[in-house]
């Protein structure tokens, strides 16, 4: 399990001196544990006979940031969406913190309630934000902690206010989503996902629907989270960001992982021609 007390994903807005000292020293020692946050084995998935994922294996260690790159249609969003069972893979297995998702011990599809519990261990941020428009910013963030995790209103609101502070959205706590810019919506969506205190955060092209000038504010928030030791899996097209934030870069091509390396190696000594070509085209 993730040691929340040391890495602070619970979102204490103002870290105490001890905490910030820990944060400075922790990530590389404590966070780089060999414990596995997400384990994907032999994952395959087709849509209408088209193979989108082919026998994919991937391990995400606790505290690691894994970015998934690849061109459109390479299966990267599908892979991410399988992790919290928004897509059901055809075969293979996914474990989150050692707990298998979607299939119970007897090998049967998980009952809805059980599935919801495993899903709640992940936090998902979508390309199109998907905030709930009838709730204000604060209530978007407290909704699931209160009604899924059963937290008290006071506890959920205190946590939500800390998280909104963290993503720089405190002044908009009472605003409704329709009045926010895309970048603001996405930062609220990140706070909403963090409020579940998930073991792993999943980002599905979090900046692809944003105006270019709003991309930076969202990437800055994600970067802060990586510095705090959150485990994250990120599908993105932002190469510079991927290089700066990742511990591991995965490249998908036609549903296969064709390259998997640390960012330095990936961006400078990619072993496959396809990846070198992809990087050249995306530098322009």
């Amino acid at each position: 399990m993730f040691e929340k007390s040391t890495s602070g994903p619970a979102g204490s807005g103002q870290p105490t001196p001890e905490q910030s000292a820990l944060e400075r020293t922790a990530p590389d020692d404590a966070a780089r544990s060999d414990r596995i946050a997400v384990s994907i084995r032999h994952l395959s998935k087709s849509f209408d006979g088209v193979e989108v994922l082919r026998d994919v294996d991937l391990e995400v260690r606790e505290g690691d940031v894994v970015t998934i790159l690849g061109s459109s249609g390479s299966g990267k969003s599908t892979l991410l969406r399988c992790i919290n069972w928004l897509e059901r893979p055809d075969s293979g297995s996914i474990h989150i913190g050692g707990q298998r998702i979607g299939v119970n011990d007897a090998g049967r599809p998980m009952p809805v309630r059980e599935l919801a519990k495993v899903r709640a261990r992940t936090g998902m941020v979508f390309q199109s934000f998907n905030l709930w428009p009838h709730l204000n910013v604060l209530h978007n963030v407290t909704e699931a902690p209160i009604h899924v995790l059963g937290k008290s209103k006071a506890e959920a609101e205190a946590l939500a206010r800390d998280l909104l502070e963290k993503v720089g959205m405190s002044p908009k706590a009472d605003a409704y989503p329709s009045t926010l810019s895309g970048g603001q919506k996405q930062r609220v969506a990140i706070a909403r996902a963090l409020a579940m205190q998930p073991e792993v955060m999943l980002f599905d092209e979090p900046t692809s629907a944003l105006d270019p000038e709003l991309v930076g504010e969202v990437l800055a928030v994600i970067k802060d989270l990586s510095a705090e030791g959150y485990t994250m899996v990120i599908v993105t097209h932002e190469m510079a960001f991927a290089r700066a934030v990742s511990d591991q870069v995965v490249f998908l091509e036609k549903g296969l992982i064709i390259e998997q390396a640390d960012p330095e190696t990936f961006f400078t000594h990619a072993s496959t021609e396809r990846v070198r070509q992809f990087l050249e085209r995306n530098e322009g």
Partner: protein, 221 residues
């Protein structure tokens, strides 16, 4: 004594008819709203075996003249040993009939509900029931507000049919006064005034509710 003075002398009859109409209307549309929400929930598909029967039932009701439904409940049910008095037959008919209309209005809005929001709810660990009642239904209601307002007015007007099964409501009061004193025009003008007044007040309330949803970006009032 002018015809209007006669009616003024009989104002107690109008008032009691009006009170009865409002009681029938209030109770039946509350029930209809609940029925509409319940049917929409069944159409979500957590009990797949009920989906088709619910759809068929909604359509069957919508294609049925309201008066026939009232007759069926009042005169037809006793054949099955179910006896409702006129008042409850009326309330029941209104509730079921307009419940189906509510359900159909909701269903139309549900079809265009953004699937991403449902995914966000699932990703945050919501199960069907809570997702429906906390995230989907409130938005559907806000979005369909103008149509619901319309339906309320239809329901109000349909209460007048209940005079035929002897419910003592507003139209029945006018009917009886016009028969007693032979002044149909004035008597019916008075009840038209009542129906208009209630409709106008409802319109204003529904419009005010629009501010609530406009603030959340649902419409532009």
């Amino acid at each position: 004594m002018s015809n209007w003075e006669i009616l003024w002398g009989a104002r107690d009859q109008f008032w009691s008819g009006f009170a009865s109409t409002m009681a029938i209307f209030g109770l039946s549309i509350s029930a209809a709203f609940a029925i509409g929400c319940g049917m929409l929930y069944l159409l979500e598909g957590s009990r797949p075996r009920l989906t088709v029967p619910v759809r068929v039932f909604i359509d069957a009701m919508r294609m049925l003249p309201f008066l026939i439904l009232v007759y069926l409940l009042y005169y037809g049910l006793p054949a099955f040993d179910i006896r409702l008095d006129a008042w409850w037959s009326g309330v029941g008919a209104l509730a079921v009939y307009h419940g189906c209309y509510f359900a159909e209005i909701f269903r139309g809005a549900r079809l265009t509900f953004p699937p991403g929001q449902v995914e966000a709810a699932k990703a945050h660990g919501f199960t069907k029931g809570k997702m429906f009642f906390r995230l989907i239904l409130p938005q559907i209601v806000m979005q369909t507000r103008p149509l619901l307002g319309n339906q309320l007015i239809y329901a109000l007007k349909d209460t007048a049919f209940l005079v035929i099964i002897t419910v003592q409501e507003l139209t029945a009061a006018a009917n009886s006064l016009s028969g007693t004193y032979f002044i149909p025009t004035e008597a019916f003008i008075v009840v038209i005034g009542f129906y208009w007044a209630v409709s106008v007040v409802m319109e204003i309330i529904i419009k005010q509710c629009g501010r609530f949803s406009a603030k959340r970006g649902f419409d532009h009032v």
